[in-house]
């Protein structure tokens, strides 16, 4: 049985190789975890689009825990006018 499996593995691939997304570790998970600070405008700016929308997880590469914290921090920062709710883009 093992021999057959080995033989199969050596056969050339019939289907093209699938796209594999390389893992990118969450930025906040590295180093000591002080949580996300809603007063830190510079950090939060990285996680909003130019229109002011909160970026999705697939764009931020954050883990679920920190994405939640960032999204909450952005909403708080918006309330105290550190970050805009929305910005207009002129073309």
């Amino acid at each position: 049985m093992r021999r057959i499996a080995k033989k199969l593995r050596r056969e050339p691939r019939k289907e093209p190789r699938r796209f594999v997304r390389r893992p990118r570790p969450c930025l906040f998970c590295q180093g000591d975890d002080g949580g996300v600070d809603y007063k830190d405008e510079r950090v939060l700016r990285r996680y909003i689009s130019e229109r002011g929308k909160i970026l999705p997880r697939r764009a931020t590469h954050l883990c679920a825990k920190h994405q939640r914290q960032v999204s909450k921090a952005i909403k708080r920062a918006q309330h105290i006018a550190l970050i805009p709710f929305s910005t207009e883009i002129y073309h």
Binding site: G35, D37, Y38, H79, I80, A81, F85
Partner: protein, 112 residues
């Protein structure tokens, strides 16, 4: 007793003296309810991300304090009545804030 933090934005057109007065007033609300102000950080005049009450700038102050749960309620009531206050926000102090306060305390100790 819990640690809280509050950020409030004052009208930047006020004179310096009046701003000091307002900040002291807020601190007075905290101490009157047996709270203890642990940290005060005046960010000063900053540009607002959007205009509030037709103002484009605001005078930001951060206070970290310790006290009972009646203090945030009391603060909210006083901010609501305060015409010079453009915006306020109070929460239980975040991990990030407490960390920074601690760091600054240690720094101040070293300098001594």
């Amino acid at each position: 007793m819990r640690n809280y933090e509050t950020v409030f934005i004052l009208d930047p057109l006020l004179e310096e003296e009046k701003i000091n007065q307002e900040v002291e007033k807020v601190k007075g609300v905290i101490t009157a309810k047996k709270g203890e102000v642990l940290h005060e950080d005046r960010w000063g005049i900053r540009k607002l991300a959007y205009s509030i009450k037709r103002k484009e700038q605001g005078y930001y102050t951060l206070l970290v304090f310790r006290g009972g749960p009646e203090i945030p309620a009391e603060l909210e009531a006083s901010f609501k009545l305060n015409e010079n206050c453009l915006r306020y926000f109070t929460t239980v102090a975040t991990k990030a804030t407490l960390k920074r306060v601690k760091e600054e305390e240690e720094k101040a100790k070293e300098e001594k």
